[in-house]
Symmetry: C2
Amino acid sequence: MAALSPGVLGALDPTSDRAVFRQIADQIREAIDKGRFKEGDKLPSEAELVEHYGVSRMTVRNSLSILQTEGLVVSEHGRGVFVRPRPPVRRLASDRFARRHREQGKSAFIVEAEAAGSKSEVDSLEVGEERPSQDIAARLGSPRRVLARRRRYLLDGRPVEFATSYLPLDLARNTPIAQPNPGPGGIYARLEEMGHRLDHFDEEIKARMPTPQEVRTLRLASGVPVIHLIRTAYDTEGRAVEVCDTVMAADAYVLAYQLPAN
Amino acid sequence: MAALSPGVLGALDPTSDRAVFRQIADQIREAIDKGRFKEGDKLPSEAELVEHYGVSRMTVRNSLSILQTEGLVVSEHGRGVFVRPRPPVRRLASDRFARRHREQGKSAFIVEAEAAGSKSEVDSLEVGEERPSQDIAARLGSPRRVLARRRRYLLDGRPVEFATSYLPLDLARNTPIAQPNPGPGGIYARLEEMGHRLDHFDEEIKARMPTPQEVRTLRLASGVPVIHLIRTAYDTEGRAVEVCDTVMAADAYVLAYQLPAN
DNA sequence: CTTGCCCACTCGTCTATACGAGTATGCCTG
DNA sequence: CAGGCATACTCGTATAGACGAGTGGGCAAG
């Protein structure tokens, strides 16, 4: 039961006014930053840390909970506390909705995933009519009812994104868009076939901590924020034809945009 | 000392297998969501919650710490625990670096802030030469040394963003760009005057929890992630002339992009 | 050899207590 | 009335102990 990780963690400074649990968190954080604990490594158990620092278990747990909310470590019941592995990230390029991609027939998500060598799935597909929230209604020009298409995307079995598309009912009712599978190229291809040639998209991006519901849906570790993206699609007549509300696990994504300088 | 918030919080379900501290957190969260506690409101004190639920103080604190990491509440030593107020949000439009804005002479940040009726400041401006990190070097075409310009932006006295611009030394040395104040229109205006007509920007966006250093610099409440934006500016010859690394308080920003559909 | 159980070790939940430190209020003093 | 102090109330830090529940390895029985 002696120090299982000899020399990796130092001693406390009793003269410091920094709280003990913060000092412990600082030392572990530094050890991770410097690579003395690597991705996936098991940290010393709570009991070992109690032993090493001569503090009570609650103090140690307090330290570990700090590192957990920072997203540095994850704890697994019955197994230990581990340095959080950095998952592969998906890069979302700003041209992912370009017409030329649509014309190839596959959905943007699947094309990109396959290019990255990952296995992708889409599940919990729900399609139905509903009353839009105030925010969605405002973006769509205040329709009374909308068609909502909900789906969750998984990458190599891990849920990474949950998205809902909203379309005005007068536009989507009794069309392939109201079917679970709207056909090759997705709903944007169908919209264009129906005469709504797409002109541009507006995207709004926020980041925040997930709600408990989002934690479940995306199986998020603690300390992982979400990226909340709201995209509005406009046709060439300036009408908003779709709003897509997407919540992404922030540790699985990097968004890329290209902006002209003029 | 009776229930100071009569009826707002319910009772525990002893038959539930949901942990007590989670049930308490659930009830407070629901009360906030439904508006029974409003922004800035003081929650019942820990002692009152202990009384109300008949649990120990550590259990109550555990509940509150959940809500804190979710970003729903903030605690203030000696005062109480409060529903976190949603700060005013700065909207960053994707045309904020358009040439027409530059030609007006003011920096993008200040122009936007004034338009929104906020008072803006820039502080901790540091300009100096340094060795670039591996990542920055790769984006700039592997220069050995770079000019770094660091600054922090404040809105109505609150720090919201910390940014560092990196430029290849051969391009920036002995130019106004190496001065603390580069003059009207900022460094992009100077670059264009020097013959580097800007063509486009690449922006990469990630979200994550802040480091302790970022918590201090941006005075972040717990439960607030950061948005990490890395922008690379290219001139018309395809050369990367600047990389700007920006860390933003996520609760203060919404990023907006417009994408063409073709 | 395989199956199943037990046990040791891990983190999860909860209690009870103590003292420290920051804040606000009101009273007392000058 | 102004200033300062006492006090009560707030959250912060830390201890010690108890039991529960998930995991994994080893041992024993079949």
